[in-house]
Subunit: 596 residues, 2 copies
């Protein structure tokens, strides 16, 4: 009953008009990213999402994955769809071209990932995790490891996973117990149990390459004694294909609230053969260097569900007849007006729209910085981009997933009672979106990462990458008649962000619980200001396009109106957030644990 | 894996200490409501919820209802539990004692209803709907109808339903098509299809009394041609028990996001025998007079899910070891500290707690006013109470359900990954809570009811019932050293509410879309101020108890701390809400429908 249309026009707006990625063709990674190439990749990716992934979204949710005797079977149709998907080359889109990846920029892969996630989040997790594991091997592996695994992973013939969590340790990886015993041949034997392993076992690929955190016998306790290992489901045979079965098995799969077609596995390692990836005892570090990409990916999943929720809510609101417009009927000929005439329905739709379009700008701006942090020929520019990515990533992850969930919920609300019925299909978006606020580090952990690690790093150096362009934009826009009002609104909120930043910095130095207590509200305040800045820039871009003359007036006018909605109706949350942060931790921490 | 403990101490605090219901023993309806009686009803009700209803909550969700050939079977155990529940007299707790009800005040029934809803929302819907229908018959029926139906409904032998919605009409009942043809004997033949009928068919009772909205042949179109009918599943036999089967059947049941053990039915009326309830063409009016009670009931359902979510999140946070306190370990002897030491976990728990305790005060304050509106011997006092109830009901419904859902979600978040697993049990609270924002009028409809109907009625007369006591409290508290700070915070937000009220009133007169556009934010602002006022009064009550000396210091100190949290961390949302409301409708209504 739901539908999905790849929002190609909006991706093109962000890529070409707002960020103007074509200006960067001088950078080798972008050399092949001509506008026409990018557009045709987006178009093909959108079609794959609409025609191959989306039709399996509801049926996958209804059927879920099956588990029997260690074997996991994905829902009907997934195997064929995966073959089509991987054969068309979508898995290794941004993979290193030296090892068989297509070598496209992260920003393009991020656009395609959003569309895949909208169409079928469960499906997208399989390929997404493969690429997460592949990037980790690419970054920390030796040449032999790269040659053994990457080509098969970039084609999607082999899958990949990340094995961090154990029953007693999720966020706090220092508690990890899985053991690795060195063998004489340089390999290791891994023993332990991992839980919540997405795509840990399934029938889509002929092999699965697990990356596993474990402690080498005799290693220090805590986080400084953790190493990262490659543990293939099948050891590589003499021909490079899957050989002997390794001692890793799936013990069971979880029944979950959502993403039911994504297999969440308990993985048992029973003396499995393992290969050290990177240095001994530096496993957590290796994981963390890959986190930015993974967290951006999860943020985009939140955005993706917001987008499909918006599309379906807007369609329903234009079609469902109920009641009359407060300002007089818009369709006096029919029995009632479409519910889109009601201001509160508009409020919901505009909130959804302002989030998805603004969130898309945020995600792609971040992905672009990720590209620059790797590929800009200038070292200082790489460092600046790296600073920006590292600072903004927890904001992207938490804001896009919190708002993605909220947007999916607003979409359900627009449907009224019909939204609560499974057959309608929109309640699945809510259930699927809910996990994104939790995995890859809960949103509370993201907030703590922002205030406790990312901002203080290098004496706050990274903040300049965000504050400086915003400051500059506000100063310029204040002189621009069309943008002056927006600049004023943005400036007021930016002032609040600066106050909050100073407060958190000062108080946090004296008492880290003050920073921790305000962390969630601070992250949201930060996100609103950054997205407000991007919206103001999008308004400028749209205004310029209208000024030049265009046959897409409705598109650009809608951008201006939506920017205005964000700045007047969503950005004002910064005022309450500032009060809450500055009220301090006292009320929050007053009770003893036993009083709860 | 979840647990539920009836929060008896907190109910006693609100009933006896905050509202002091015992002072009203002079009013006949309260004559039997001595403190010990009330306490023992709460205790028994709590035990029933814990021991009979709660054990079937998860299994009911997993199994759902079954439908075959028009027959609906509730999940395993429901039938026995219902028999136990009704035989103990819980169904007709607040029923009219002249017709076999127990005649307890609404406020006591509301407390018990909260506990039943926490323990098993699906189960609670069956009895809740029976009482909704019974009250409607009590208010609008003639003596014969009351005698025929009420005694059987108050004992729970017979169930009841409300049939409003049709496929093409939910909120907009003027579009209703179900027809009623008068017969010569004074009865009617009803034909039509109703959807989303909770408890429309099931195996818990020997008969089901449907109240059905339909249009008598020749009646005016729109809402002025709708009448209300009694349509029993079995016509009453000569002995007063169920006789001949009526022509009403269940066509199917819905697969839903949650409340899966509550049967949501498509009901087909095929010339069913029906009896007019109340006057011809005044059916909607009859329904609306019962709405306050029903909407309070749904608000309490939201609160109920917030409460059980809070209890389980607090228990998990005290037990789950992960990471170290920012201020230094609290349990240096174990591998990690319980997560309740982390400020962001505290933020979530305190938000949940401040909502549930404040929401309970709001719900019971409203239920008490409902009692007074019916039973106060003084006519003017009845009118004042009726004004208060009618004004505050949409606020209670929307705020308690929006926040109940948010609280259930926070509870899931505290559990991290485990919260997403069905077996843990807390994701069910989220799915179950979601319906409360929709049924009995979506929360958008509540907001429009508040600004469009309730506030303007009698030139704003009802507002006095809220504004006057708040104003008075702030003036008094300003002179009280302990309460001065809280009064200051409350006063600031109350000022914003007054500004917003004036703005909505003025703008709404000129352009109803201005009022509609701000309605949701205005309702939330209103709720925050009222709950802030109740929190400040609870702080005063707790402070007085501590001053008198008590052996429950921890309880009262927790009340003070939680009041402080609400006023400093939750009430400040009023500032953003005011800005949003006063930014007006322009940004919201700027786009044409086809631009979405």
């Amino acid at each position: 009953m739901t539908a999905y249309h790849a929002p190609l026009r909006d991706h093109r707006f962000v890529l070409h008009e707002l960020l103007q990625v074509e200006r960067y063709r001088n950078i080798p990674a972008f050399a092949d990213a001509a506008r026409e190439t990018v557009d045709s990749v987006l178009e093909e990716g959108g079609r794959m999402a609409e025609e191959v992934l989306f039709p399996l979204n509801r049926s996958g949710d209804e059927e879920g994955c099956h588990f029997e005797d260690g074997v996991v079977t994905t829902p009907h149709g997934f195997k064929d769809a995966y073959r089509t998907y991987r054969e068309a080359g979508w898995v290794g889109l941004e993979g290193n071209p030296e090892h068989g990846g297509a070598g496209l920029p992260q920003i393009v892969a991020t656009s395609v990932g959003e569309m895949a996630g909208s169409a079928n989040l469960s499906f997208e997790t399989y390929a997404g995790l493969t690429m997460g594991a592949a990037h980790t091997i690419d970054t920390h592996g030796d040449d032999a490891q790269r040659e053994t695994y990457l080509p098969k992973m970039f084609t999607g013939e082999w899958g990949g996973t990340m094995n961090l969590t154990e029953p007693h340790c999720g966020t706090d990886l220092g508690l990890l117990r899985t053991r690795a015993e060195p063998r004489e041949d340089g390999t290791y034997r891994i023993t332990g149990t991992k839980i919540f392993i997405s795509a840990g076992e399934h029938d889509l690929t002929e092999n699965i390459i697990h990356l596993v955190l474990a402690r080498i016998s005799g290693a220090p306790t805590g986080t400084r004694g953790i190493s990262l290992f490659i543990v293939p489901k099948f050891l590589t045979g003499p021909d490079g294909g899957p050989g002997e079965r390794n001692a890793v098995t799936c013990g069971s799969i979880e029944q979950k609230m959502g993403i039911k077609a994504s297999a969440t596995c308990v993985m048992n390692y029973d003396g499995a053969t393992a290969y050290l990836l990177g240095e001994e005892n530096r496993g957590l570090r290796a994981m963390f260097t890959m986190m930015n990409r993974a967290r951006l990916g999860v943020g985009v999943q939140g955005l993706a569900l917001g987008e499909i929720a918006y599309q379906n809510a807007a369609a329903y609101a234009k079609e469902r007849l109920q009641g009359r417009a407060l300002s007089g009927s818009t369709s006096p000929g029919s029995a009632a007006d479409p519910i889109i005439v009601h201001p509160d329905v508009r409020r919901m739709l505009m909130t959804m729209r302002a989030f998805t379009e603004g969130g898309r700008a945020l995600a792609l701006w971040t992905a672009f910085a990720l590209d620059m942090s790797r590929h800009d020929p200038d070292e200082r520019a790489r460092r600046d981009a790296e600073d920006l990515v590292s600072l903004i990533t927890p904001v992207v992850k938490a804001y896009l997933t919190d708002m993605g969930f909220e947007t999916a919920n607003l979409g359900l609300q627009v449907h009224g009672g019909a939204g609560y019925i499974r057959e309608t299909g929109v309640e699945q978006f809510v259930r699927d979106a809910r996990i994104t606020q939790i995995y890859e580090g809960t949103n509370g952990v993201q907030a703590l990462d922002l205030v406790g690690r990312k901002i203080p790093a290098h004496y706050g150096r990274a903040l300049r990458q965000v504050f400086h362009p915003i400051d500059q934009f506000i100063a310029d826009a204040a002189e621009d008649e069309d943008l002056r009002d927006m600049a004023g609104l943005l400036g007021k909120s930016f002032g609040r962000l600066q106050l909050a930043t100073a407060w958190i910095g000062e108080q946090g130095l004296k008492d880290p619980e003050q920073a921790g207590g305000g962390s969630r509200d601070y992250l949201r305040l930060f996100a609103l200001v950054v997205v407000g800045y991007l919206w103001a820039r999008m308004a400028q871009t749209a205004r310029d396009a209208l000024g030049r003359g265009t046959d897409e007036r409705a598109f650009y006018e809608a951008k201006l109106a939506t920017a205005n909605f964000f700045l007047t109706r969503m950005l004002p949350d910064t005022s309450s957030l500032l009060s809450k942060i500055m009220s301090g931790k006292d009320a929050m921490m007053a009770l003893e644990a036993e009083q709860f």
